[in-house]
Symmetry: C2
Subunit: 158 residues, 2 copies
């Protein structure tokens, strides 16, 4: 999986923690997580295209959450970075080679291998869709109660 997913999740979590309508520029988010600013900007653009972030250009601009954290699932984030297509792509191998002269009838039903892999992938997507950014924030504060306050201080908010 692309490393950008982790970067995107941490950036979104930081925005959720700040809980401030004001936009945060890429430079701040990058410095807060010690990431290369230019490349992080590219990833955040993908989140804007996916409708998870809104970008305000110009001075004092930056990125801010497009929806409340309760409405942003991990599935949304992964789909925004990795793309909407499934990880396992069936190329219909069964039709080639030995199966070339099989009756057409057999190819109307989906490939059994693709079906099996799809079942696992759906379980993965279901778990991702069941967890929101707000859930992750709550879980993080469970073990690190002072993190949100410290993050706001670091960003010069309040």
């Amino acid at each position: 999986m692309s490393e950008g997913v982790e970067w995107a999740l941490h950036s979104l979590l930081a925005l959720a923690w700040l809980d401030d309508g004001r936009p945060v520029p890429t430079s701040r988010l990058a410095a807060g997580n010690d990431l290369p600013p230019a490349y992080l900007n590219k990833q955040l653009q993908a989140l804007v295209r996916a409708g998870l972030l809104v970008s305000t250009p110009g001075a004092r601009g930056g990125f801010s959450l497009a929806r409340p954290p309760e409405k942003i699932t991990l599935m949304d984030v992964v789909a925004a970075i990795e793309g909407p297509e499934e990880a396992f792509r069936c190329t219909e191998i069964r039709r080639r080679g030995a199966g070339a002269n099989a009756p057409r009838r057999e190819f109307e039903s989906p490939c059994a291998i693709a079906t099996a892999m799809r079942r696992a992938e759906l379980a993965w997507r279901r778990e991702l869709a069941a967890q929101t950014l707000a859930d992750v924030r709550a879980a993080a504060e469970e073990h690190a109660p002072t993190a949100a306050e410290r993050l706001r201080r670091w960003h010069g908010r309040d």
Copy 2:
């Protein structure tokens, strides 16, 4: 996900269908699925290293299943090709940047983001481990009863 997973699954399914102790060379398996023989050989070597296949060298050699299909799960195949490590790798971003001067106490518990992603990945792995090669073979014969017989003919068995 690597395309080799699909190739490996189709090759293993062909061996399970033949249900013959005799080894099948890479050239036959590649021709049966219309795949590049040399590269398929490389993938099958990975399956041998993982203990899913046994290879018999020399003339009349080839690959054969190391265990009955009931004992080979899709998880085994994916792990053999893709590697045992998880798709989402936590690089401990939380410790860097703004979190650099946080109390050590907070880092003893695992990263909330990694935990959330891990939960989804475990669901994926559980589904993969729950399905065996025999299950896939049975599902395929459900919709294509003549496929096994045709495959044996094609390989010159019986």
